[in-house]
């Protein structure tokens, strides 16, 4: 072993710094059968972080409805896939970038958009629309203005440059988010239903290929940070922030889609949180194979990087692929045409192990399945929320209805969002039929899908106040509202994705919110025939022990049969009757 990996011994402090509990470290020792070196410990730490392992939520996520005749691929892959007819599939997912956006709003939000785009085009889809759900602190909190303008500029800066229309979203303000904003980004893409790409690696001997940008020291340990509660001094820690490069992402989309039109790819996965570690582990684990990586071949941006840094870097705009033997030159040609890095960095094996080589020596050797599958899973204690008794309307003060209406229209949660969506290119690609400002965004599907008549609608929704008061009702309501917004543009809901933003799950009342919201969400999804096909969990959203409002954001998509017949939201002329539906 080289000096960089020969550590003087793993102390309890080093274990704690890596966010592993003592009992978790005991499991590490058990799996390894020896003391891990620092590289190996780093790998355990990111693989078992809440962010990558879903250790607190897994038990409950399993109860969500995920099946339906339209579902081609449910949760577990990079994104969910549903059939939209005519041989086409919609691929979509939502993802949070909450903590990075609080630390550096522009880059945090921008790289959030970049990450969710990669999740979708990894599966073979061309992204066709973006959405975003944002929660900020009180409008008069000294930080809010800076955070709002940075986040909005970052989302626009990335999505506009890549050239994907941002067609809908949602923004709320509440003091509970003063120290912990939420930035949830969603992407919807389109692919031929029989050309979906998955992440399970296969074929011992097959080359493992790295493409995209070079690896730098970006966001090392970002994944563990995203799972740790914020302390007052978090601004001082100033972790290495990742900077997004939307131009490279655009090239990466074009190059990947070009390669996907050939038969070269066996498996593909983007390098998201925990970069090379989680992408290679997940691919190998899903395919039941081993992998050997030659870290000397990883394209590096900086000199003097260590195996630890290479494995844990969160540099953006990178992908990992397993390709068929003999397709190396074809692949290289496509990536070089688009001026992107390309390197064969390893190969698959039959050993069930991950072996990392560095300067001719072994820098780390870990069993794949025990590590990936035996990540901790907790059935954490929880206490249900007791909903408050319903308000008696008679107990409310009398108010002049017109005045009340004015107050409502002027309040930050209901005021026009035009100033936000005018900063997003919502028209690029030329297919936007319903722009932001309506109930849901709608884009027209290409002619080969329904002769140019069909459209895809999408919206994100959640009302955290309701979820706080009554998590079960709040969970139901989020799904119902998202679907109502689809109905309002003439779309039939197909499926949903969800982003579970909650506080510290080790507190029973927070865990109770999570459990309640998931129960309500599941019920509503079943009732409306819209299964959950993908999602993301963001826990530990707390500052100084105070949690955000429970915020299970729902992203729903639906099919419009005829885009020419979408009802408008405006009141078209005087004299028409207004009808109130529902109860």
């Amino acid at each position: 072993m080289t000096d960089t990996t020969k550590t003087p011994g793993i102390t309890p402090e080093i274990v704690a710094e890596h966010g592993l509990k003592p009992e978790e470290y005991r499991k590490v020792l058990e799996i390894m059968g020896r003391e891990p070196n620092l590289v190996e410990l780093g790998i355990f730490s990111v693989m078992w972080s809440e962010h990558c392992s879903y250790k607190s939520s897994k038990v409950w996520l399993k109860k969500l409805p995920t099946q339906g005749p339209q579902v081609i691929c449910g949760p577990g892959e990079n994104a969910g896939v549903v059939d939209i007819g005519d041989g086409m599939a919609a691929i979509f997912k939502i993802e949070s970038h909450n903590h990075p956006s609080f630390i550096e709003p522009y880059q945090g939000a921008a790289t959030g958009v970049g990450g969710i785009l990669r999740d979708v085009f990894t599966m073979g889809a061309r992204p066709i629309m973006n959405l975003n759900a944002l929660r900020f602190g009180s409008p008069d909190h000294p930080k809010t203005r800076h955070l709002v303008s940075g986040v909005v500029a970052g989302i626009g800066g990335y999505g506009n440059c890549v050239g994907i229309p941002t067609v809908a979203g949602e923004v709320n303000f509440h003091p509970a988010y003063n120290g912990n904003i939420l930035v949830n980004a969603m992407t919807v893409g389109l692919a031929p239903a029989d050309r979906i790409f998955y992440s399970a690696a296969a074929g011992a001997g097959n080359p493992v290929v790295y493409v995209g940008s070079k690896t730098g020291r970006d966001g090392i340990h970002g994944a563990t940070m995203a799972s740790a509660e914020f302390g007052e001094d978090s601004e001082e820690k100033r972790p290495t922030v990742q900077v997004g490069d939307p131009f490279t992402e655009k090239l990466l989309i074009e190059a990947c889609l070009e390669l996907m039109a050939t038969d070269a790819i066996v498996a593909i996965q983007d390098m998201g949180a925990a970069g090379l570690t989680s992408s290679s582990f997940e691919m190998a684990s899903k395919g039941g194979v081993g992998v050997e990586l030659d870290l000397d071949r990883v394209p590096l941006r900086e000199e003097g990087m260590t195996p630890y840094e290479i494995m844990l870097s969160e540099s953006q705009e990178r992908m990992l692929m397993v390709i068929k033997p003999g397709r190396e030159e074809l692949t290289r040609g496509i990536f070089e045409k688009w001026d992107l890095d390309f390197a064969v960095i390893g190969r698959l094996t039959e050993t069930g192990k991950m072996v990392l080589r560095w300067h001719g020596e072994v820098a780390g050797e870990l069993p794949i399945d025990p590590l990936a599958l035996a990540s901790p899973e907790y059935d954490r204690p929880w206490t249900p929320t007791t909903p408050p008794p319903p308000l008696d309307p008679a107990s409310l003060p009398e108010r002049d209805p017109l005045e009340a209406l004015e107050t409502l229209i002027g309040c930050p949660d209901l005021a026009s969002r035009r100033w936000i969506w005018e900063q997003y290119d919502h028209l690029v690609m030329g297919n936007t039929v319903v722009r932001p400002g309506a109930d849901a965004g709608v884009v027209r599907l290409p002619a080969e899908c329904g002769g140019g008549k069909k459209g895809l609608a999408a919206k994100v929704d959640c009302t955290p106040r309701y979820c706080l008061a009554d998590p079960v009702q709040g969970g139901r309501q989020a799904v119902a509202e998202a679907c109502r917004n689809l109905y309002a543009v003439g779309a039939r809901p197909l499926a949903v994705t969800n982003n579970l933003n909650f506080g510290n799950p080790e507190k029973p009342e927070i865990m109770g919110q999570l459990v309640g919201c998931l129960q309500g969400m599941g019920e509503a999804c079943r009732a409306l025939g819209a299964p959950v096909v993908s999602g993301n969990v963001s826990l530990y959203n707390e500052t100084e022990g105070k949690a955000i409002l429970p915020t299970p954001t729902i992203g729903a998509i639906g099919l419009v049969e005829d885009v020419a017949r979408i009802p408008g939201a405006g009141l078209a002329e005087a004299g028409l009757a207004l009808v109130l539906l529902g109860r």
Partner: protein, 80 residues
């Protein structure tokens, strides 16, 4: 008093602009360019005539607005 504030990306932070310029110079046939980083200069004209006070004010401007200290370093130069 005139001042210049130089804002540069911290070492190790990705500089997409520098990278693209580097690439474009290569495509234009310029050989031997080894690295390119892009930064900003903000030139200010201040009413303040006391150097120490000007520097203190500029430092505060940098921390509050001119530089994004999460990813950028800044340097202040009084030019007269």
């Amino acid at each position: 008093m005139k001042a210049k504030v130089h804002v540069t990306l911290k070492p190790g932070v990705l500089d997409p602009q520098g990278k693209a310029i580097h690439h474009a110079l290569g495509a234009l046939g310029f050989q031997g360019v080894e690295e390119v980083r892009q930064g900003k200069v903000i030139e200010l004209e201040l009413a303040e005539t006391d150097r120490a006070r000007a520097e203190a004010a500029l430092d505060e401007m940098c921390r509050k607005l001119l530089a994004n200290t999460v990813i950028e370093n800044y340097a202040i130069e009084l030019t007269d």
